[in-house]
């Protein structure tokens, strides 16, 4: 557990970066600090491992005040992912990752073996081990930064915008990989971001800070969306928060899934026309996995081929969220959203109307602003 008690930081020039912060990051959970630029997120994070000393107040690590500890020893207990990775340019990737264990007295050999494992664990090929940081892309360097912080297997991790230097697609992948990793290792993490979507996606709990270094609200992602504490939080969480909050509502049988007649590749135009509802028919493979939608009129005389498929629809898992279900319906050319089971096999289809009906029947969501 990491706890802030009335922590204030005023820089020598008078800037109050953090003002009376009270916050608790529970053991084994991922706590996110989010807020507009300059609201004191980095300052808060760096006060935990005493790269910055608080002006007043106390920070506790598992109930022990950090102020009495030897700063270097304190830092060795905490993994720190610096913004833009901050790798050592003069060390190979494997030696970058092995830094902390070696500093803690482990043998070079052992530390390197462990580092190699970690490099693969964050999704990089082992062949990168002998490279130098400049030979990696920004996103790859950030993964190494994460691996380096994990190497000494610290109980605590501080991460400053660890996924910021990459494009949205890679960022999404890194986030997913990280969530999977965290579900295995369960560390006490405080992560800083200024991206509210990232905060809502990753956080077990999210602390929204406002400029001036004050805590505006601390809550779970769905609570932030459905009951923001004030105008500032409501604004910061964003306009389409009503729609986004659907991303936290499980469908769990609330939506009626309709049956859908299907054809396979190679079907004749007549068969397709007979099975179609409206202008579209759903095409599946031999194991009932959806391939795409087709229009029987376009199968001119011959048989149904791959080139006739419209691939724009996104399938939703029956175990997924309302948002995924609605997205499946809205993205489908037939306006019928494909629903699949955990093996990717077709269960049936839903319409946007069905989903909205289920949402309206959901008592929790009625309180959404």
């Amino acid at each position: 557990m990491i706890k802030f008690e009335n922590v204030t930081k005023a820089y020598p020039d008078g800037t109050v970066a953090v003002d009376g912060l009270n916050l608790e990051a529970p053991t084994g959970k991922l706590t996110i600090l989010v807020g507009p630029s300059g609201c004191g997120k980095t300052t808060s994070l760096r006060m935990i491992n005493r790269l910055i000393e608080p002006t007043s107040g106390t920070i506790y690590l598992d109930d022990q005040p950090t102020s009495g500890m030897d700063a270097a020893l304190l830092r060795r207990r905490i993994g720190y992912v610096i913004q833009h990775a901050g790798l050592f340019p003069h060390r190979t990737i494997v030696d970058n990752v092995a830094t902390m264990p070696i500093l803690l007295g482990e043998s070079r050999q052992k530390a390197r073996t462990k580092a190699l494992e970690l490099i693969e664990r964050v999704g990089l090929p082992a062949s990168f081990a002998k490279r130098y940081p400049w030979q990696l892309s920004g996103g790859q360097q950030q993964r190494v930064g994460v691996a380096r912080a994990l190497a000494s297997d610290p109980a605590f991790m501080l991460m400053d915008e660890p996924f910021s230097a990459v494009d949205p697609v890679v960022r999404g992948q890194l986030q997913d990989e990280f969530l999977r990793l965290q579900s295995e290792i369960g560390k006490t993490i405080i992560m800083v971001t200024h991206d509210i979507d990232e905060a809502l996606k990753l956080g077990d709990q999210v602390a929204v800070m406002r400029v001036g270094g004050k805590l505006a609200q601390m809550a779970s992602p769905s609570e932030l969306l459905t009951s923001p504490a004030d105008e500032f939080v409501a604004d910061f969480v964003g306009r389409d928060r009503g729609y986004r909050s659907l991303g936290f509502t499980k469908t769990a049988g609330a939506v009626a899934i309709g049956e859908e007649a299907v054809v396979q590749l190679g079907a004749s135009a007549e068969e397709a026309r007979a099975k179609a509802t409206g202008a579209w028919v759903l095409v599946v493979d031999g194991s009932r996995k959806p391939l795409g939608w087709a229009q029987p009129e376009q199968i001119a005389g011959g048989e149904l081929k791959r080139e006739h498929l419209n691939l724009s629809g996104i399938a939703a898992a029956a175990s997924g969220t309302m948002r995924q279900l609605l997205d499946a319906a809205l993205s489908s050319p037939s306006r019928r959203g494909v629903v699949v089971n955990e093996h990717g096999e077709l269960i049936g289809t839903v319409t946007a109307t069905d989903v909205v009906k289920a949402i309206e029947a959901e008592p929790h969501l009625e309180t959404a602003r």
């Binding site: 304190l74 830092r75 901050g86 003069h90």
Partner: protein, 216 residues
Amino acid sequence: MNIEWLGRQFDTIVFLLGWHVLLTVIPLILGLLIALPLGWWAHRSRRIYPLLVGVAGLLYTVPSLALFVLLPLVLGTKILDPLNIVAALTIYTVALLVRVVADALESVPEDTVQAAKAMGYRSWQSLLKVELPVGVPVISAGLRVAAVSNVSLVSVAALLGIPQLGSLFTQGFQLRFFTPIIAGILLCVILAMILDGLIILLNRWLTPWTPKVVAS
């Protein structure tokens, strides 16, 4: 060129060359060793930096001959003592390298220094294991300048009668005989080039991590 003379004087020339190498390299190493802590000090403190770099710049402008003559008074050595040359050139090397070392440490990316600190390196560990190694390319660039400058400064000591390649110049002038002068110049140039090359090799060996510039 009088090849026959060169052949006869071969032993003397090798002897002079040996002295020249010693008088160049020893101050270079001593100067670097002294400049490292001074440069680190200048780098650490915003107030010390202009002071140290300013004094170093001033020292470098003192004419070498004046220093060679003044040092015996300060050190209590004899005027013909080669130690004077070593001391004087060490001062020049330090004067040149203090700024170089400070700038080398300054060239280390802030993120890198912060990362070292955040991982629990104490400040001396960070200096030895991160900041100095990353600053090596800047330091070697400064060292190359100091080496070449030392090679030429040593020859001035010939005026005091201390044996090194510069003695070939004084001898040539006295005898109005060009062969030793040309031999002296050539050997100085070659020595400077060899030292320069050695430092380049050393730098390459110490910094396998720098991006290789592909010659076009």
